[in-house]
Subunit: 454 residues, 2 copies
């Protein structure tokens, strides 16, 4: 038998690494442990499953355990890694199906343990009607709550409270509206979408209200009891509560094994995704990344990042050489027709990172203004005062083609462009695709002018 790689975690950060290690080294012995029932799935698709656009849980699975086994990855579902003994080179594994515990030797280990929804220490937080949206097991539990209503809602779940107004919170709010439920969204922030500057978040708050969601900003949740959510303002009835207040890295196993933890308790890794122990690698929501604009270590829990990091780790684990470029915090979502996207630093993030930011804001249209389907689009480009260095951008636009424009800025940030360079780009134009001057280019030009003026 050759060398053995044990992969812990059956979703993106783990399976992208396993699959890539297999490609690079066809002889490596790869065992993968997943405590749940599913592997390689799109957690980002869960809101569309709950909303009914995606018909079944299985549709979200990219590769089943069987398919992974056919690729030569020995996947064991409902197997949980309980402890890692780095000195002995062994993992203690709990087989939840057979109810037994055993020890598994390894030469190298890869951690793709992911993240868990942040659960603040509030009374009633562990009630079964208060759920997260992180794994397919969470999704199944949510669906089961909807079909088997709690005792205080014998007629079926009608009132849902979503706590938190980030991407997941918003997508879940829309999903429940699609199911015909009454949705209240409660957030402590002044506007929804706290990853945008408030002047941009305002437009999203408006769109959510138009969609029929009762949005309550600036309100803190203080606890839960059967059928109700307590907040700083009062009591709100709830047949079901979904938490969308962010995630925390699942780094307990790493911590217990003595690995170094960094940003927000995530696992420290180097450029090649190796942890502080030379036999242990990590990728995805459990580990930290370097932000390409601020240069700071950050914890970004996104499927794209997890897959890229997993691929890098897998290449290295297979004996190749790869490095992970870093993150920009690029993200996008759609609320009804409204497209919302961001990349790099917001004005407030730029201040925290030590920059003095200026912004260029433009109100334009998604396509040429004279075309019948032209819809409003706002772009905000953030640059550094004096130097004109591009720092980030945010987009809120009402229609197809608005949000993905953010990718131009993500590319320009990676290339260390100035805002003025973005204004000059030879971007694609035809009337059904945008105004002659792309709104991103105009925003960049204004940001460059603001940077020079002050």
């Amino acid at each position: 038998m050759g060398r053995r790689l044990v992969v812990i975690g059956g979703d993106a950060g783990g399976m992208a690494a396993a699959a890539q290690a297999r490609r690079v080294d066809p002889l490596l012995d790869i065992v993968a442990l997943e405590k749940g029932r599913w592997t390689s799935y799109s957690a980002c698709g869960i809101p569309y499953l709950i909303g009914g656009e995606v018909a079944s849980l299985d549709d979200l699975v990219a590769r089943t355990p069987e398919q992974l086994r056919e690729q030569g990855i020995d996947v064991r579902i409902r197997h949980e890694a309980m402890a890692v003994d780095l000195e002995a080179g062994k993992v203690e594994v709990r087989d939840h199906k057979l109810g037994r515990t055993f020890s598994l030797g390894f030469d190298r280990i890869h951690l793709g343990t992911g993240a868990r929804p942040f659960r603040p220490d509030l009374p009633g937080i562990d009630e079964s009607f208060v759920g997260g949206v992180q794994t397919l097991d969470d999704a199944q539990q949510l669906l089961s709550h909807l079909t088997h209503p709690p005792p205080w809602a014998p007629g079926g779940v009608k009132k849902v409270v979503v706590v938190g107004a980030g991407y997941i919170g918003l997508e879940m709010a829309e999903a429940f509206i699609r199911r015909g439920l009454a949705v209240t969204l409660i957030t402590a922030t002044p506007e929804v979408m706290p990853t945008l500057d408030p002047d941009m978040g305002k437009g999203v708050t408006r769109a959510l209200r138009k969609l029929g969601v009762t949005v309550r900003c600036g309100e803190s949740v203080t606890g839960f009891e059967a059928g109700a959510v307590h907040t700083s303002v009062g009591v709100t009835p709830a047949d079901l509560v979904v938490l969308g207040i962010g995630v925390a890295p699942n780094a307990t196993l790493a911590d217990q094994a003595g690995l170094l933890l960094g940003a927000r308790g995530s696992i420290v890794v180097d450029r090649r995704q190796r942890t502080s122990h030379e036999a242990v690698w990590a990728a995805g929501d459990c580990c930290e990344s370097t932000h390409l604009v601020s240069g700071q270590k950050v914890h970004v829990a996104l499927g794209t990042v997890a897959n890229k990091q997993g691929r890098v780790a897998g290449t290295n684990l297979g004996g190749g050489y790869a490095t992970f470029a870093g993150v920009l915090g690029t993200a996008i979502t759609k609320v009804c027709g409204l497209e919302v996207a961001r990349t790099g630093l917001t004005e407030s993030e730029a201040v925290v990172a030590g920059f003095e930011p200026v912004a260029g804001v433009v109100d334009s249209t998604t396509i040429a203004g004279y075309m019948p389907d032209a819809a409003p689009l706002r772009v905000k480009v953030v640059a550094e005062r004096g130097t004109g260095r591009l720092l980030g951008a945010q987009i809120v636009g009402d229609g197809p083609g608005a949000g993905k424009r953010i990718d131009v800025v993500a590319t320009a940030l990676t290339a260390n462009m100035d805002a003025g360079d973005v204004a000059d780009l030879d971007l694609a134009y035809a009337p059904p695709f945008g105004p002659l001057w792309d709104p991103v280019a105009i925003g960049a030009r204004r940001a460059a002018a603001a940077a020079n003026a002050t």
Copy 2:
């Protein structure tokens, strides 16, 4: 009276310069001559006017002569510059309305004389039923042909032949289909859309046929006569013919004035848009550009380029300092729902420019594959063998969000990225916007692999 700038041409290349010169120097005396009736209009919008999506010709006008005059630009429509005497510092102007000719002095002159549809020297090419789509006057003539049919089609125009299968040809074919006419598209090229490599153009040919257009590739037009088009294959009845076989720069005035001409007979300009004579500047479809990938001088006739060059010329004419970055030949169009885009060099263009290209092709979907509206999307990324340098990309995709992805490649090309860098970009992802790995990134990864492998 201060210094006088005479601008020749009332559309993008001319008016962008005039408006910007006015902003930079509020005291400059600016006279603008336009031989037609309209100023500052979107010629790119003409197909949507003919197709009925845009209601009136006036909707395509960004700034009327009156609005330009309010900005302090002395616009004279139906005034044609007949000759430029650089030694005497005078333009001979023909006032078509009053039928008189006069002489106008200038300190500096700016040429925005645009381009004219290429009209090959074929029998019958000057018949009135054979039209171009370059100016609003052309558009008005086309609309008038449709409402006042020729003698051989007393029941109204029913059969249209479009000659040429570039952007304009395709957009006009769709416009006539929207009007319920029978459309035949004839092109000498093996597939439609010759600015793509044929393997990508094939998908567009298919889509056009599906739309109901009779597409005839590999067929040369040999002449025209009342009611018919003659080709290498035979005779095709036609109540109306539209030429979409490209444009030639309108550089006659520049040539007669002794200015240097370059690529395809377009006016030679430097980085600041100054021609070979220090008092004369030029911008837009009449002049040449530098291609950012090949480094070669090219003639690209596009509204975006004309506006950018005009702005640069205007800044310099007003006493400021600006340079034009160059072009990538980025272009996009929509045929029915099919989005087609390109930037940089195709494989064949790369060969001509002296590169040895490799390509990465990926068949993917516009949004996550499990979402109900997922549609096919093909991306081809071209890179240089050995170095992996990014050279260009082409996209053909069936639905919203497909084509504008090209802007990522346009940005990456401007930043001199390698194909491998594009594969690593932190692009925006959520299920309604794309697969987890963006097709552009996968295409780039494949191109990088091909570049290294060979």
